[in-house]
């Protein structure tokens, strides 16, 4: 049976790729219509490209903030992609003064000018031993900002661009990827499929 997934609109595009990737992974995605739906759906996705301040503004206006915070705190199946991962942090250098969802402690910082910014392309990630969903391989990144340290209580996959940074985080069925699984070829497709399978089993 296909898994029903609600996708939270962050006001920024590339939704078509996320929806296409989810469909290929055995999910039936649709856009979330209400905060209640985001809180109770079997699975939810928080995608995002663009600036953190803009996306947070949209989440606040749509009253999605408490629903997302409660959902992730409860360990319900949730996938955050790219900016979605950064939204889970306390904030970002990109949008000073704008609080993130604060699901975990830590600030998102910009890559130094010693490397080309944005990081654009395929980079190799390594998963911490014990990761259930994340595995090693090449993943596609398109980001100017990153999380440098993994928050306590989360398993991480790591990557290197001007030093180590967090490529992805997982805690039970909650998965947050700095890279784009929906654009990461067979590697990303396999990860999405594992997450959909895990989400079918429900929360922690």
């Amino acid at each position: 049976m296909e898994l029903d997934v609600v996708v939270v609109a962050t006001g920024t595009a590339n939704l078509a790729s996320v929806l296409a990737g989810l469909k290929r992974s055995g999910a039936r995605p649709r856009l979330a219509r209400s905060p209640a739906e985001v809180l109770t759906a079997p699975a939810a996705v928080l995608p995002g490209v663009g600036a953190l301040g803009t996306a947070m503004g949209k989440l606040v206006r749509d009253e999605m903030v408490p629903a997302l915070q409660e959902r992730i705190a409860a360990g319900l199946p949730t996938l955050a992609v790219c900016l979605g991962l950064q939204l889970l942090a306390e904030g970002s250098e990109e949008s000073p003064g704008v609080p993130g969802l604060g699901v975990f402690p830590g600030m998102v910082t910009r890559y130094p000018d010693s490397v080309r910014v944005p990081q654009m392309g395929w980079n190799k990630i390594q998963a911490d031993p014990g990761c259930q969903l994340l595995q090693a391989g090449y993943a596609y990144f398109a980001n100017s900002f990153r999380l440098e340290a993994a928050p306590p209580g989360w398993m991480a996959a790591w990557c290197d661009y001007a030093g180590p940074f967090v490529a992805a985080l997982e805690r039970g069925p909650v998965l947050a990827c700095q890279f784009h699984p929906e654009l990461s070829g067979d590697f990303g497709q396999a990860l999405l499929t594992r997450w959909v399978e895990r989400a079918r089993q429900g929360g922690e």
Binding site: A13, S17, A20, G21, R116, P118, M120, K124
Partner: protein
Amino acid sequence: MLAARIIPCLDVRDGRVVKGVRFHGLRDAGDPIALAAEYEAQGADELILLDVSATPEGRRTARETVAAVRAQLSIPLCVGGGVREADDAQALLVAGADKVGINTAAVRRPELLTEISERFGRQCTVIAIDAARNAADTGWEVVILSGKERLELDAVGWACRAAELGAGEILLTSWDRDGTRIGYDLDLLRTVSAAVNVPVIASGGASTPEHLLAGLQAGASAVLAASIFHFGETTVGSLREYLARHGVEVRR
């Protein structure tokens, strides 16, 4: 370490892939959906689709092509052609593009780059620059309208300005080399890559593995080619093996 990207380019007009010498005398090289699937299977790191349609009907067909390509494609898709305002970019993104290439319209109104990058992010905003050696042979000038108009605008300066205004990547095509098969303009690549801190995609003139390697060694983060793929002269996979043998980090 970030891997070098190999990017096949599909020039699409009215829903069909075309590619000709210097964009004139177009030859039909196939169905974009089938070609996109083939290139992904070969190991392409990304695809660029340039819509060279001249009519509104052609543009609509191109958006349908983007949607059909997107449904099956699990690698990044950049789409350019006909983007005159931020809403045009949005239409392409909604159809299934991950990045949008902007060319002539940004030269005419540079703020467009800021508008698009503020709405959709820098990583989504690709400035496409067609550059030709100037008559005095002192540098490169920007060419717009698919070669119909040469400007006195310095291509290197324009690349820097575009990056400052919000472009997160530069698709740099040598107008002198495009369609010639004699290799990228390496001086142009070296000069622009050194002048900006965003990734540069080399385009125009590549027909051999050596050309691709030289483009990367000149500072490009990615190498684009079209006809060498469309007519089956080589595959992405064999080019990737060649690059790996020569010490280039590639996706495996």
